[in-house]
């Protein structure tokens, strides 16, 4: 039987995820599918909307105190925008977050991106279950 007010339930930690669209591309169906899948898995999703600068994304992550950032990009600008975002996260001492990326990202760029501290890159066709599993497993359990 489910206890009504067990100690465990009293502290209700939710995984908070920022889904962000850096750069100038104006297509966010992928980002919305990811947001929806994570929402249906019981997480709280904060969506930034389109055309965000790295500064805006990091500022939002800071104010919203998210545990996870998902970056969606289709324009090919990941090689300039991702390093900038990761740099700004460090500068703001947001180093304990899980960051992942998705969109159109050439295979050969993936190792470079992972080196930046982005944990995983998901291409088109990734089943949403894979993604949900990845986030649930890798989201920081506690925050400093």
């Amino acid at each position: 039987m489910k206890k009504i007010m067990s100690k465990k339930e009293k502290t209700k930690r939710k995984i908070r995820v920022l889904i962000a669209k850096p750069g100038l591309d104006s297509h966010d169906r992928g980002a919305k599918i990811v947001a929806r899948a994570l929402r249906d898995a019981g997480m709280e999703i904060i969506y930034t909307g389109l055309r965000q600068t790295p500064e805006q994304i990091v500022e939002t992550a800071l104010q919203e105190d998210v545990d996870v950032i998902g970056l969606s990009i289709l324009s090919g600008a990941h090689t300039t925008l991702f390093p900038r975002i990761m740099h700004l996260l460090k500068k703001n001492k947001l180093t304990d977050l899980l960051v992942f990326a998705g969109g159109i990202i050439p295979e050969e760029d993936v190792p470079k991106i992972k080196k930046l501290g982005i944990k995983e890159v998901f291409g088109p066709g990734t089943p949403t279950t894979t993604l949900v599993q990845f986030v649930s497993r890798n989201a920081p359990k506690t925050r400093q």
């Binding site: 039987m1 206890k3 009504i4 007010m5 067990s6 009293k10 502290t11 209700k12 930690r13 939710k14 908070r16 947001a35 929806r36 994570l38 929402r39 249906d40 898995a41 019981g42 997480m43 709280e44 999703i45 904060i46 969506y47 930034t48 909307g49 965000q52 600068t53 500064e55 805006q56 500022e59 939002t60 800071l62 104010q63 919203e64 105190d65 703001n92 001492k93 925050r143």
Partner: protein
């Protein structure tokens, strides 16, 4: 670092307006972590300075966009602004999609603005349980004005009256006729009624319907609710809305604010007591064998839940004596 020390650090940070401390504090309160109570206790004495504006109204009325414009105008006038934007949690999965920021992008880099999105976590009434305390954190951090956006509210989500000083009910043309305007709930709580999307057809008719309905109301507080037409898209009417808010603030200063505060302090005390008492009693019952037996009996249709609850309570009283 020991927890108490960490809390002190956070308190110091919040009072200095440090964004990271504000962010963490709200999370701790929202998750009802063990330090939450201490944190609120330490911040509470530093609150009470901010003017708190509540913005409510049906989904799609333009609340978020209106808040963006309001905040910008307040910034132009040298005020710092905190925003708490509430969106619903799914009662089925517990997840939430918080999208109010999408309409507030112009504010995202302004250092004088802090925006926090918040899921209701299934709290009824149009706000999250932690909203009031999140507002306190922003108040303590020195924000001059704190704006609270409720979920897209239906007719009876009126908890905002317990949080805000000035209530704006945002409506849009074409949502209903003069019969809607006379219904109970939402249409009773506004200090200011905004007909947003005033660039659209029928805005004038909507405004006059509301005005007419307000005139039927019996005056209680000496403040006659005003109707303001805005277009959050173009910014038209926003300056006038700010003037109206200021007018209401001046009105509150004449004494109603003290009254409101007194009333609220009492309600809050009762609510806090209710929560503590319920929690204590239920926790105690759940550890007893009786609990299981009674649940079984309810399942077997041998006893109904109301009689069972009464039995548990009276049994408890006897033992207490």
């Amino acid at each position: 670092m020991p927890k108490a020390n960490q809390t002190e650090q956070l308190v110091k940070g919040v009072l200095k307006g440090d964004k990271r401390s504000i962010a963490r504090s709200i999370t701790i309160i929202e998750n009802r972590e063990p330090e939450a109570q201490r944190l609120i206790a330490r911040l509470y004495p530093k609150t009470g300075k901010a003017h708190i504006i509540g913005v409510t109204g049906p989904p799609g009325a333009g609340k978020s966009t209106l808040i963006e414009k309001l905040a910008k105008e307040l910034r132009n006038r040298g005020k710092t602004v905190g925003i708490v934007a509430v969106d619903p949690t799914s009662p089925f999965t517990g997840g939430a999609f918080l999208g109010d920021r999408v309409r507030m992008q112009d504010l995202s880099l302004d250092q004088g603005v802090y925006i926090r999105s918040m899921a209701t976590r299934n709290n009824p009434g149009g706000l999250a349980k932690a909203t009031k305390d999140a507002v306190r954190v922003l108040d303590a951090s020195g924000k001059n004005v704190v704006i609270v956006e409720t979920v897209g509210a239906g007719q009876s989500e009126v908890d905002i009256v317990k949080v805000a000083h000035t209530i704006i009910v945002a409506l849009a043309p074409g949502l209903g006729d003069d019969i809607q305007a006379i219904k109970a709930g939402q249409m009773e709580i506004g200090d200011i009624y905004v007909v947003n999307k005033a660039d659209r057809e029928n805005a004038e008719k909507t405004a006059s319907d509301i005005q007419a309905s307000l005139e039927l109301a019996t005056e209680k507080t000496g403040w006659k609710p005003l109707v303001v037409k805005t277009s959050a898209l173009t910014g038209e009417g926003v300056a006038q809305l700010i003037e109206t808010i200021e007018q209401h603030r001046q009105h509150l200063k004449k004494g109603e604010l003290d009254e409101k505060r007194k009333e609220r302090a009492e309600t809050e005390l009762i609510e806090a007591l209710k929560e503590k008492i319920t929690e204590t009693i239920i926790n105690e019952f759940q550890t007893k064998n009786e609990w299981k037996q009674v649940t079984k009996k309810i399942l077997a249709r041998q006893i109904d839940p109301y009689t069972a609850a009464e039995k548990l309570l009276t049994g408890n009283k006897r033992k207490g004596k």
